[in-house]
Amino acid sequence: MDCSVVRDKLAEYQLGGLEQDERAAVAAHLSGCAACRAELEALSRLDALLPAMEPLTAPAELWAGIEARLQPRRNPWWQWAAQWPRPALAAAAMFMIAVGLWVGLRGPAPIVPTETLAPAYQEQQIVAEWSSPLADDAALGVMFASLQGVETEQ
């Protein structure tokens, strides 16, 4: 080990942070190098320059001032959800999945507005939708009746 390598390791050497073989190599170098020993002594004198911190007690009234400034915590949604009972959380998740599936299975809205389709085609579509188990019978009935009205006028 040369002096520059040893000097890089002196602080760690003093702190006991080197591996055994590295420590032995630094110690061997120090025993034969007065300049590096002087550097090690300088590091020790640095310790003497760093004044010990006097352990003090904080004034008693500090907490009141801190407490007055503490804003209520706005928890993120996952912490809020974590406070729910697990069965309720599971039921809410199932509901969300069911809604998602229903919306997904309905398929995309027709690209061509209903009003622009030929009445015969519209009638065919309404009758087809009527057979769906989730069909809104009343709404389809109103649509069908209005379609009939359009045809009558024509």
Binding site: D8, A11, E12, Q14, L15, G16, G17, E41, A42, L43, R45, L46, D47, A48, L49, L50, P51, A52, M53, E54, P55, L56, T57, A58, P59, L62, W63, G65, I66, E67, R69, L70, Q71, P72, R73, N75, P76, Q79
Partner: protein
């Protein structure tokens, strides 16, 4: 080295330097539980954390600022900011080092603001014994240089240096308080110390000549 006050006296085996007496005021489990509860908004849990760490933060601020009102302000501000930023703290055991880091940043800001008007050293007690006016001036300059050198360290070196060299805590305790491995603390202390050695060269040489 100046003598330690009450509560100092044990020895860190690695160096034979006196260390801060006793463990942290809360055991690790209670500490972690208090951090978790405070992260969820429990102000009473945060008060327990405050009581466990307030003296260390206040002592640190007083050490650098030498002004009781400024140290009290820094302590208050550090704990208010601590509450605001606590949800971001991942390692519950690292609260002690984390709140010290915040306090050190506030101290540094305060120090920078005050540096021009230089009120910090007015009447500051120095452990220089029966020295004359010239010696007192030199001691005061050295004291200031040391504080500025420590404050000028990068954040990741500053807090370990303060905890180990100024508070006298052993390396293992600093590692726990910062939530990092022991070797990381040793490496940061080593780099911090080298930086201080460079910055305080003239004072170190003077100490060698004395």
């Amino acid at each position: 080295m100046t003598p330690r006050g009450p509560g100092f006296g044990e020895s860190d085996g690695a160096q034979g330097r006196p260390i801060h007496g006793g463990p942290l005021p809360m055991d690790e489990l209670a500490h972690a539980q208090a951090v978790k509860a405070a992260q969820s908004g429990d102000a009473e849990a945060y008060e327990r954390l405050y009581r466990a760490h307030k003296d260390a933060v206040y002592s640190l601020a007083m050490h650098f600022l030498r002004d009781a009102d400024a140290a009290a302000d820094v302590t208050q501000e550090a704990f208010v900011r601590g509450w605001e930023q606590l949800p971001r703290l991942r390692e519950a055991t690292a609260f002690g080092g984390w709140v010290r880091t915040m306090a050190m940043n506030l101290v540094r800001d305060f120090y920078r603001r005050s540096r021009d008007s230089d009120p910090l050293d007015e009447g500051a007690p120095l452990a220089s014994g029966d020295s004359g006016p010239d010696e007192r001036t030199v001691a005061r300059a050295q004291d200031r240089a040391v504080r500025e050198a420590v404050l000028g360290l990068p954040e990741h070196q500053r807090v370990p240096v303060v905890m180990h060299y100024l508070e006298g805590r052993p390396v293992a305790e600093v590692a726990d308080a910062l939530g990092v491995p022991r070797n990381t603390v040793i490496s940061r202390l080593s780099r911090g110390r080298e930086a201080l050695r460079r910055r305080l060269g003239p004072y170190i040489d003077q100490a060698g000549e004395a």
